[in-house]
Subunit: 490 residues, 2 copies
């Protein structure tokens, strides 16, 4: 009969354990590092298995911004003059995640956020008490704080008092990720944690009752049986690099977006966990974005669909824009902008499909309905002159009449090459990291965190930079503590 | 440790089998009936276990229209003057399902459709050689053929030659479902198939190698172990009646829609199959609709969002409209219509929020942007006078200027009560019914069909009436044949 890949090995069949520990952690990115630190600090014996030759994972490839705040504000927020409240932070995240939000997880995250910030400080993560004020994809300076979501944009500013919550490491350029993982790696190394690099996890080890008792790992070509007395924590990342999985679960994203992550975001951890009794949640959901700025001045433009109509306030976070682009009939999307605000260089790749002295010319050239586009621009300009956007409520800061020379920049998915994505679906877990069966009950002995799970950020529409690394580190820590405090067996 | 619900019992632990058969089928709705007939006709010993006291399932609650055609046309299509082609049918379904479509499944379905029609005839299912020509949710006459999707609407009419493919049973009123299941039940009863009613399936029985060997069923309060030498076929329906599951997997639907189905669409079969090694696919996807007609004259109206803009051609299938309503920012949706085309009775429940002699009055009263709504109606009317809809390409049949007295009917999800849904996600299977593990390989001995699976229709946006019963019966038959031809064990 067919060999069942990813299936757990039977505990009862294993006579010899090459490695024994309390907690085995699969993956040494942000989640694995935080889980290891907390598990070790709680007194557990810990071994990390990392498939690559070094720590880092996709956290090291990111900016490592962390979304933090609430409770009167972090040290950085307060120094920059912001008094954040836990209630505002919670309301914002609940609104941003919408129907897909996990309220329990969001509340825990917001209530624990100041402690998380202090924990980061105590681990040596440097944050400067200064604000980066530009609208940007990432901070390019060493400033410690910036707006990274849609807090100031409609409708969110009406639901919660805006406050910047993106915490950026004190380092010039977009170099937060490597620095963050360097610090976390040193933290792990300074503890009594064994680290096995070039160690590929193959499958879990479960007993007859379905409890996870260990993991099989390939090291130096040998299959090594690892006994994990307290549990295994899967921190092996998402699946955006697995083309087959992405096409199966997230076909709407796989066809248009370039994956971002590290090559080992191949779904290994998700598959292993599922085969051992865990179940999948929201596997279709991805972070998807079209970073159509910088320059931020492009925000003065308007986005229109194939009908020549606006469909979103252009001042929201870029992934929210991408999510709404995907909802348009016809899917064609253009940025319509006047010469004054269209400056080189931009990240768009310069796919200008039409320019003209009149908006009608541009519409004709771009193949957009002339009457609709003309009305859209005229109505927008009338409002902009008065500093209002009566229909989509873009902030006054980004309102100015669109004037000649007009240009249309093509952002159509599938035609425009800059759409990027990573996966947000994964194993269904409790906030504690316990991996859940479909019945909702935990798979005993199995934990997961980071993009191996369906975590805090669950849709592009409500994403903010810093939510993934925030989720990865916060719930990675929680999984480490929970596993360490479990009564050991074996 | 925690009891793991839905988990398979161990084959090796079972000493006594109360029932032995080749093929055990869970559920006696459309899928189970078709699977049983085909398995029995292939020479297998078959037992059906149905949790209710009678056959029927959700198929009996439906109209039991079946989407069929291609290959020059069914007898009914040809009699009505239509020469359908397999290519057009395939192209239509591929376009309608979009990125989510399973091309292999769609091609098999279209290529086998004429044979499926003939099989239905041979089983005694009556189809009259006449066409029901009204735009309707269901045929209310005994006519055999009607358009049930968006074939004639943009953009589909440009991608494939339109042809009606909804086949309606020869019976007055919306009574196809009971008649269809009566015929199928008689077909099953006329064969050597054992039927156990009031038999609740509890869990599958798997052996040490992961192969499904039987099922545990509760009959008369007793747990009965059923040996299935060739396999178990799960035909136990979807999960729309399980509020907890719906909120977990399809939160975007659960909050606004009334579930449609039978009370046993509670996910039992999906959970059992998943616990035995099957995996889940597209659990977020639902058939969701707002049947805003009849009267079909409401199609002369236009749908506008909170921005007072149109967003879809109003002549598409109602579930496509619901899918696009869900995509609008603000989510408020109104039907704007003139008195001439707004007739009682309608299915809307009469949620008229504004009427007026001018469109500006209506906009004010409904809280819609006056300038945008006014431009929308004016532009629409200009086109309608010429018989064109330059922006959304509604068919000329449904184009007429919207004139006073104007009315706005509120279709906003959450406010309007007529949204209904059933689930389209479920076990991941091969078209043969083989339930797949996450690795893609089958779980040996386990089959599934119908809404227990993620089948042919995978999104509301591309739905057509007759696709679900079409899927259920076509792939139910295939699963029955495949299981019957499997080499038996035990």
């Amino acid at each position: 009969m067919t060999q069942r890949r990813d299936q757990p090995r039977k505990f009862e069949d294993i006579s010899k354990w090459q490695i024994e520990t309390d907690v085995a952690i699969i993956g040494f990115g942000g989640a694995g590092a935080c889980a290891a630190i907390e598990a070790a600090d709680a007194g557990a014996e810990v071994v990390i298995f990392e498939v690559a030759s070094a720590s880092g994972g996709s956290t090291a490839l990111s900016s490592a911004e962390i979304y933090m705040g609430g409770g009167g504000g972090t040290r950085v927020q307060r120094a920059c003059g912001y008094q954040d409240s836990t209630e505002d932070m919670t309301h914002y995240l609940l609104a941003a995640q919408g129907d897909l939000g996990d309220e329990e997880r969001i509340r825990l995250y917001c209530e624990g956020s100041l402690e998380h910030f202090d924990w980061m400080l105590a681990r040596g993560v440097p944050y400067k008490d200064s604000e980066f004020k530009a609208r940007a994809i990432v901070a390019t300076t060493d400033d410690g704080l910036l707006y990274t979501g849609s807090e100031k944009a409609w409708p969110f500013r009406e639901l919660a008092k805006p406050c910047p919550r993106g915490h950026n490491l004190e380092i010039e350029g977009d170099n937060g990720g490597p620095l963050f993982m360097k610090i976390m790696t040193e933290q792990v190394e300074s503890r009594d944690v064994r680290i096995e690099y070039d160690a590929r996890a193959l499958c879990l080890i479960s007993d007859d009752a379905g409890e996870v008792r260990g993991v099989v790992v390939r090291i130096d070509g040998e299959k090594v049986s690892v006994l994990a007395r307290k549990g295994v924590i899967l921190c092996a990342g998402g699946f955006v690099m697995n083309r087959e999985m992405l096409a199966t679960y997230a076909p709407e994203t796989s066809q248009i977006a370039t994956p971002i992550g590290n090559p080992f975001d191949d779904g290994t951890g998700i598959r292993m966990g599922e085969a051992a009794g865990g179940t999948l949640l929201h596997m279709n959901q991805c972070f998807l974005t079209i970073p159509y700025y910088p320059p931020s001045s492009l925000t003065f433009g308007i986005l229109v669909n194939a009908q020549g109509q606006r469909f979103i306030n252009e001042d929201v976070y870029h992934a929210r824009i991408a999510a709404h682009i995907r909802k348009q009939v016809g899917e064609s999307v253009y940025l319509i902008i006047g010469e004054k605000y269209w400056k080189e260089p931009n990240m768009l790749g310069g796919a200008i499909v039409a320019t003209g002295e009149t908006i009608e010319e541009v519409a004709e050239e771009a193949g957009l309905p002339v009457d609709n586009l003309s009305h859209t621009v005229q109505a927008y300009n009338e409002g902009a002159k008065k500093g209002v956007d009566p229909v989509f409520h873009k902030q006054a800061d980004w309102l100015a009449p669109i004037e000649s020379t007009f240009a249309a920049i093509d952002l159509t998915p599938g035609k425009h090459g800059n759409y990027v994505a990573f996966t947000l679906g994964g194993l269904w877990t409790r906030p504690t990291g316990e991996v859940r069966q479909m019945s909702g009950e935990p798979v005993p002995g199995l934990y997961a965190a980071g993009r191996n799970t369906c975590g805090l950020p669950r849709r592009a529409e409500g994403y903010a930079s810093g939510l993934s690394v925030g989720d990865v580190t916060f719930f990675g820590r929680m999984a480490g503590r929970r596993a360490a405090h479990r009564e050991g067996r074996g």
